[in-house]
């Protein structure tokens, strides 16, 4: 702990910290461009000059590059330091264009701030300004290279931090430029971070080009709703439109960065077809009439047929409070149980995790700090993109990584890979002797043994998995393996990607309710006559859409509460509009059992872009806001139950009734959240039967999530809808050759999920015996709900597309 003096104040900092970080600990901001907490220091911008007056070094130094030492005396305000900073700003501004009024960075530009703060106003140099050609970098990022100050933050983020390959630095002398070798879409799933890290306006968000100034926008600390990781975000809204999302510092979760799905997928809140008015039997109603009529019908059904006549279904998309309010509606209806996920296998997998996780859950920060990682049945790019980035940071620090997954390897870091389903391997890992399973090849056996030894030797091992591929049995095996690898005083952590942002919280609230199949059986048997879906879309998420469609047709009343125009909402008798996450206060429990609150950014309403039809807002006086009717799910449900509550009351009730959620009472949005005090369930762990496998010689179909287009929220966001990859059937070249199929040729795919004719894509990384499709909304694969694990399929040449 070196102790040094900065600006006549003493501070002690951890060994290895720089003078800049020491100053920051005192609350003194040393101006800087190239230094970034997550990227470290390179000393490229020369702005953070300070004068070191005593200690091991003397004179003008770069604060970010000098390690803080005992006895140092540093001045950030010495004339030499301020003079240097003034000169650096003047140099940087020599070539900077005179275009702040038309630059989207204006108002949040570090260069602008520093220039104004340093008092630079007149360009004394009379020479000409250097210019660059720009590049077209795809639909997300706009480049204006003339604004560049050569701080190297973009390259360090894109290549070093995120492992991208198609972006770099070119040129010599003062012609140093950043971009791709050829113009084209940035391939990395983390390309949007360029917008956040660029200290000036070289990289700006193309999806909201010229849409708003930062000071005009509403924003509040929020949690990303696009996967289960719970990354910290700032959503920004203006004129009742959710415009953009930027990364918020989440020390336990995302650090600083976001994936492109989380950043550019927020447009679902502005969807033109989004339900905005309560609708009952095709008629639009006000809230009081709609709720009164529905309450009467639900109560009548309960009286006539008993409390089981109403089914309640939620999903991982709904907030914790909304899920609780659905439970309260069930109680008000005499004890109707809640089904917490429309996909029964996903449901059981999440519940298996919640029941047994205990204190083994690991956030992204634990993954970043880990020294040995095993990714079993996880494809982070589709299921939890930021988890790959966290794992990459661990690998960059020297951690070993292994992957057990039949899917092609798309990880941004090197890992030892066994291209097989992880179940048998995990079963072996969970056994005390850890003997490798039968049927492995010699190289695979060696790889398995090495991974097992590394996990045992590691100080902070973490097992990562995906609930979609593993299923309940796989999740239990992963948990068993984590327990088997734990020793007293050193636990082996576990980080499992779940289907939705609050899948964990939903399962916590209904640990032993029925699953969606039991609900469907109830509908088919005529026991269940009405169904209330809270932000759930069984038609798209259940593995048997035909069965769901038939069952929904038998219902006397289907009530859908949602803010998305889902397939189920289109068939519902009653649609009650709810608010999106950015339009309400609420909480999610992330994949590792961390409870995080999010705050309302803006109030729901029809965007002015819609009411004004692109021109100026309507010239009229009116007391209400058009499209203001959507209400938070919990508020609608509480009103439907006849007991309207405030959010605070609901949270207090929840904290009382569920001791593990006690942290909810004092939860603040924007804070680090609360790690739930979970105890592994004392109940006997049921031995989940193995799933019906796929017969020898048959291809196993995996329907998985893609980065864009699979997740229900971002799939309905305008900027993302255009970039989802083409629907295709991926086969390994050997299987394709056996079936007589070549790249791009149409193939007919038949499976329990449905039938589709798709072009074949040869995927050399895919394990033989597997066929891979990525679900995409709005295409032939819409019904191929992910989460089903490997299922039998038949593929033949063919057919017109």
């Amino acid at each position: 702990m070196p102790t040094l003096t900065i600006d006549e104040r003493e501070v002690s900092v951890p060994a290895g910290a720089s003078v800049l970080e020491a100053a920051e600990a005192l609350g003194i901001t040393v101006p800087h461009f190239c230094y970034h907490k997550a990227l470290g220091a390179v000393g490229a911008c020369r702005l953070c000059a300070v004068e070191i007056q005593a200690g091991p070094q003397h004179g003008l130094r770069m604060a970010c590059l000098v390690e803080a030492r005992d006895g140092m005396v540093v001045s950030t305000t010495a004339p030499a330091a301020t003079g240097m900073r003034r000169a650096v700003i003047e140099y940087l501004m020599l070539n900077h264009p005179h275009d702040c009024p038309v630059c989207d960075e204006g108002g949040e530009c570090q260069l602008q701030d520093m220039t104004v703060a340093g008092g630079h106003g007149v360009r004394r140099y009379r020479g000409k300004k250097r210019t660059f050609p720009n590049q077209e970098l795809g639909p997300f990022v706009e480049q204006e290279m003339n604004r560049c100050i050569q701080c190297y933050r973009c390259v360090r983020t894109y290549r070093d931090y995120a492992g991208g390959h198609d972006f770099g630095v070119l040129g010599v002398r003062q012609r140093v430029a950043y971009g791709r070798f050829r113009p084209g879409r940035l391939e990395s799933p983390y390309s949007g971070n360029l917008v956040d890290v660029c200290p000036t306006g070289v990289f700006t968000d193309k999806t909201v080009r010229f849409r708003a100034r930062v000071w005009d926008m509403q924003c509040a600390p929020s949690v990303c709703p696009h996967c289960s990781l719970g990354c910290a975000t700032w959503p920004w809204a203006r004129y009742r439109e959710l415009l953009r999302v930027s990364g918020r510092e989440g020390p336990r979760t995302n650090g600083f960065f976001l994936c492109d799905r989380g950043r550019f997928g927020s447009g679902h809140a502005n969807h033109p077809d989004r339900p905005r008015t309560p609708r009952l039997d095709g008629r639009e109603l006000g809230w009081p009439e709609a709720l009164e009529a529905l309450r009467e019908r639900l109560t009548k059904l309960t009286w006539a047929h008993g409390p089981g006549a109403v089914g309640l279904l939620t999903s991982g998309r709904a907030s914790l409070e909304s899920a609780r309010a659905l439970g309260l509606l069930g109680q008000a209806l005499g004890g109707a149980p809640v089904v917490c996920e429309p996909h029964p296998r996903r449901d059981r997998a999440v519940r298996a995790l919640v029941a047994e996780l205990g204190q083994l859950g690991r956030d992204q920060e634990d993954v970043r700090q880990s020294d040995c990682l095993l990714l079993a049945g996880l494809d982070p790019e589709g299921e939890a993109p930021m988890l790959a980035l966290a794992a990459r940071q661990a690998v960059r620090r020297g951690a070993r990584a292994a992957v057990w997954d039949p899917r092609p390897d798309r990880l941004p870091f090197p890992a030892r890979r066994i291209a097989r389903l992880p179940e048998a391997l995990l079963e072996a890992l969970a056994r005390p002797d850890g003997r490798a399973p039968d049927g492995l090849e010699a190289a695979e056996r060696e790889s398995y043994a090495e991974t097992r030894a590394a996990l045992q030797a590691a100080e902070r091992p973490v097992l990562l998995g995906g609930a979609d591929l593993l299923g309940p049995r796989g999740v239990r095996l992963l948990l068993a393996a984590a327990r088997a690898l734990s020793r007293p005083g050193r636990a082996c952590g576990l980080s499992l990607a779940l289907p939705g942002p609050d899948s964990f919280g939903g399962a916590l609230l209904c640990p032993d309710g029925p699953d969606a199949d039991e609900l469907l059986a109830g509908i088919e048997a005529g026991r269940v006559r009405a169904l209330v879906c809270l932000e759930a879309d069984p038609l798209s998420e259940h593995p048997d859409p035909a069965r769901v469609a038939a069952a929904l047709g038998r219902l006397e009343l289907l009530v859908v509460l949602d803010h998305l125009p889902t397939a189920s909402a289109a068939r519902a008798h009653a649609v009650l509009p709810t608010t999106a996450a950015a339009e309400m206060d609420g909480a999610f429990v992330n994949h590792a059992g961390r409870l995080q609150g999010f705050a309302r950014v803006y109030s729901a309403g029809l965007p002015i872009r819609v009411t004004g039809q692109g021109a100026h807002p309507p010239r009229e006086f009116r007391p209400d806001t058009p499209g203001e009717l959507p209400q938070p799910g919990w508020a609608v449900l509480a009103a439907l139950a006849g007991e309207p509550v405030e959010l605070g009351e609901l949270r207090a009730e929840l904290a009382r009734s569920e001791p593990r959620l006690a942290g909810l009472a004092g939860l603040v949005a924007g804070g680090p959240g609360v790690q739930l005090a979970l105890e592994p369930s004392a109940r006997e762990r049921p031995d989940t039967p193995a799933e019906p496998g796929v017969a020898e010689g048959e291809l196993a179909l995996l329907s998985v999530e893609a980065l864009f287009g699979s997740e229900p929220l971002s799939a309905r966001a305008a900027p993302v809808a255009g970039v989802a990859s083409e629907d295709a059937l991926a086969l390994c070249p050997a299987d394709a050759a056996r079936l007589g199929l070549g790249e791009g040729e149409p193939a007919r795919l038949r499976s329990a999920l449905g039938e589709a004719v798709l072009p074949v894509r040869l995927a050399p990384g895919l394990a033989p015996g597997f066929a891979l499709v990525q679900r995409r909304f709005g295409g032939p694969l819409e019904g191929f709900a992910p989460g089903g694990g490997p299922i039998a399929c038949r593929i033949e040449k063919g057919g017109a597309r």
Binding site: P97, K128, T131, P133, R175, G614, H616
Partner: protein, 176 residues
């Protein structure tokens, strides 16, 4: 004494009145006669045009940020040539206090104050001026200024062809 004081007071006041009868009146019979204020008088706000006749306003939001009464609102948009412009621009004159901060803030000299002070309307909604009401076919006070000529990002002219710019660098060249 009291009587004398009263008489003197009446006559003195009458004298003041008589004197004022022969003085030039301070008031003018508006609206028959209209006063012409100084050119820098701050009244009705207009949006001016650049020397080539294009809209000067780039919808940078600096006027609305400077406005102390929040009477300016707008939406920026991108033209086909990459030009940033105001898709709509609205000033609510029923709220405006004619302080001139918007004109002072404007980096492109688009928004300017004029001496036209006749802004009364019977319907408050008529005081909400849209862009077409604000735009004038003139450069206003500094006719020669053209922001995009100096912006340096290749909108009004090709990249690197502005008067203060070098041609675009060839980043693949290794020559010194």
């Amino acid at each position: 004494m009291t009587l004398w004081r009263s008489i003197r007071g009446t006559l003195a006041a009458l004298g003041v009145t008589l004197k004022a009868i022969f003085r030039r009146p301070a008031t003018i019979p508006y609206p028959e006669v209209k006063r012409v204020p100084a050119p820098r008088y701050r009244a009705r706000i207009v949006l001016t045009r650049d020397p080539r006749g294009g809209e000067r306003c780039v919808a940078c939001h600096l006027c609305s940020a400077a406005c102390p009464v929040n009477c300016i609102s707008m939406q920026a948009a991108e033209g086909p040539d990459g030009r940033r412009y105001a898709a709509w621009f609205r000033i609510n004159f029923s709220r405006c206090i004619f302080c001139g901060l918007c004109a002072e803030a404007c980096p492109t000299l688009a928004i300017q104050m004029t001496p036209d002070y006749e802004l009364c309307r019977r319907d408050p909604l008529e005081l909400v001026f849209e862009k077409e009401d604000l735009l004038v076919e003139d450069g206003g006070k500094d006719r020669d200024y053209d922001f995009y000529r100096h912006a340096g990002i290749g909108v009004a002219q090709a990249r690197g062809e502005g008067s203060e710019e070098e041609p675009p660098a060839d980043v693949r060249s290794l020559l010194p």
